[in-house]
């Protein structure tokens, strides 16, 4: 008994896309020097925001825009506390997760048991449903959006003036401030972008994978996205690789459990599925250890990450 490589790949894409989206957003946020642990909360806000808009407007595109807005609102709330009121970023981020979980559950009460219009295909049905070509054309628009965002984010950080300012703010907020850049405004923008991306990631769950609302439906993927940013060393290209690597590992766990290796590669069936499930976290720890053991220069973490900015004088 064989298995279908194309279908497996498409499952992996489904597992990777939300963490890629949320990871890209969080990476930009962290590059500006802000650590937002509220990704899970913003994802849930996006999931319910997008779902509610989908139910009310029957327009999946508008639903994704609303999901982004809901995530960004969560992010901006975090910004008000951490940037304007200088609260501790770690604690505030955790609070945002608790808040987002609770608020999404509350808002979701009236949407439980409903279903939404799924996305149509962006490509002609002949391509999207083609037994082989669907591996390229058979996805939700959000998947293509995520993939396009990878080079865009990389280009933004590396080659644009705005990207340079963002990095400067994250590396040395005082210098950026004394050069006349508005550190707080830059960070607000970065947090809003991170929130919007997390929101779209949440909408990928509630609009695409399982078009429904269920409380806590992201089930901890926000935390995996946070680990992914560290794993990727704050680089967009590596984030893409990491997201798909994590996706493959998540899929391997299920594949092994279903006895998928049985005839193909019986040796691999001996490995307990828990091993695959733990791998993303083990690998993140290993990468962290490598990063911190390397000499200066290899460390790509923003120098001001997690530190509040208090302009003096």
């Amino acid at each position: 008994m064989g298995f279908d490589v194309i279908a497996s790949f498409m499952t992996i894409v489904g597992l990777s896309t939300p963490i890629l989206l949320a990871g890209l957003g969080e990476m930009i946020t962290e590059k500006s020097g802000v650590l937002n642990l509220g990704v899970e909360g913003m994802m849930l806000l996006g999931a319910i925001g997008g779902f509610a808009a989908g139910v009310l407007t029957h327009n999946p595109w508008l639903a994704v825009v609303c999901a982004a807005a809901a995530g960004a609102m969560g992010g901006l709330l975090f910004g008000v506390f951490t940037l304007s009121l200088n609260s501790n970023q770690t604690a505030t981020g955790l609070a945002l997760t608790i808040f987002g979980t609770g608020l999404s559950s509350l808002l979701g009460l009236s949407f439980t048991g409903m279903i939404v219009m799924p996305f149509g295909s962006v490509f002609p049905v002949a391509l999207a449903r083609h037994p082989i070509l669907q591996i390229i054309f058979g996805y939700s628009p959000i998947v293509y959006f995520a993939l396009i965002m990878v080079p865009l984010v990389a280009w933004f950080l590396r080659s644009t003036r705005a990207g340079l300012i963002l990095r400067a703010v994250g590396e040395n907020d005082r210098s950026a401030h004394s050069l006349g850049y508005n550190v707080i405004l830059v960070r607000y923008s970065a947090i809003a972008f991170g929130g919007a991306m997390a929101g779209i990631a949440g909408a990928y769950f509630s609009l695409v994978i399982t078009p429904m609302w269920a409380e806590r439906m992201t089930a901890g993927r926000g935390w995996i996205a946070l680990a992914l940013v560290v794993f990727a060393g704050w680089k967009a290209g590596r984030l893409l690789v990491g997201a798909y690597l994590f996706g493959v590992l998540m899929w391997l766990e299920l594949f092994a459990k279903a006895g998928g290796f049985g005839d193909v590669l019986p040796v691999a069936q001996i490995i307990p599925s828990q091993f695959w499930a733990a791998m993303p976290f083990i690998m993140t720890v290993v990468v962290l250890a490598i990063i911190s053991s390397r000499d200066k220069g290899g460390d790509n973490a923003p120098a001001c990450l997690g530190k509040p900015f208090l302009p003096t004088g």
Binding site: A7, G14, F99, L109, F205, R216, G259, G260, A277
Partner: protein
Amino acid sequence: MARLTRRDFVRAGAAAATLPMLGTAARAEGKLKIGFIFLGPIGDYGWTWAHNKGREAIDAALGDKVETIYTENVPEDASAEGAIRDLCNAGCKLIFTTSYGYMDQTLKVAGEFPDVKFEHCTGFKRADNVSTYNSKFHEGRAVLGTIAGMMSKSGTLGYLGSFKVPEVVLGVNSFALSAQRKNPAATVKLVMIDSWFDPPKEAAATDTLINLGCDIVTTHTDSPAALQILEQKGLYGFGQGADMSAFAPNAHLTAIEDIWGPYYISRAQAVLDGTWVSADTWDGFKEGTVVIAPYNAAVPADVAAEADKIQAGYKDGSFNIFTGPILDQDGNEKVKAGEVMADADLAVIDWFVKGVESAS
């Protein structure tokens, strides 16, 4: 100007975490206060949703003689102990802990509050003030297995499980044995996702089962995620805990509905009457705890008739799927021909029948 400190946030977080309980905790003199510990969110549309329906049934039946409160999303770890104790401290005299993983926590807290009656769902440890109750979901699985065995074209069935606990093992075995009665070559691929509620993982696991040749997948996890995947692929599945046809109008062949209301009302009434005693209750089709939802139009008449026969057999006691001969996965005979497994053996079952394909 007041500055928010880290400590304020920790405090706010802690306060927020207890909010759900404060919201419903009201003082009422003379009323019997009944508490519920729920595993998932009440909006899961499955397991917890069904238990919450049971809670609402108490309110509806006993009106102002009782007051019910609940705590949802309680993990099956040490923190459950605190959640149960909180209900005791809130004045509950009858507490339902509605998942297997609350077993030892329930017994521990029960020891501290001898005047509070406890009801632990799906467990097997009892005390003077701790009853256990369960539903014979596996009777419902026999109906699903019959339908799946007759309707599957590939003969490869998928089973999306949560943990290897007796309830799930019974479900898997009942489903597999019933399918094999109709199609002796039927096999069941089993994936345990190590969670009761994780829609993305349930979805991906369903994808994987389909990919490995399953054309019907049944779920023993609590969200409709699997059904939605099956709907997208034009395949069939079953609802778990509640009628989930709204989520998958074409894929949803039928569902096992958990009806807890009558039991909950009887236990609350027993406390009110002072007749409550510790007991072990395991009801099924006969008592109305297990109910099969309406069949989808896609279920052919002959299949529906066979499915009805199973239900009728359980109701009049003439049918039991755990009737030998039953072989285990390795082909060893576990139950001799003609023998029927006793409830006590079923309650602690930890082996799968032949034809179940599972990895660790």
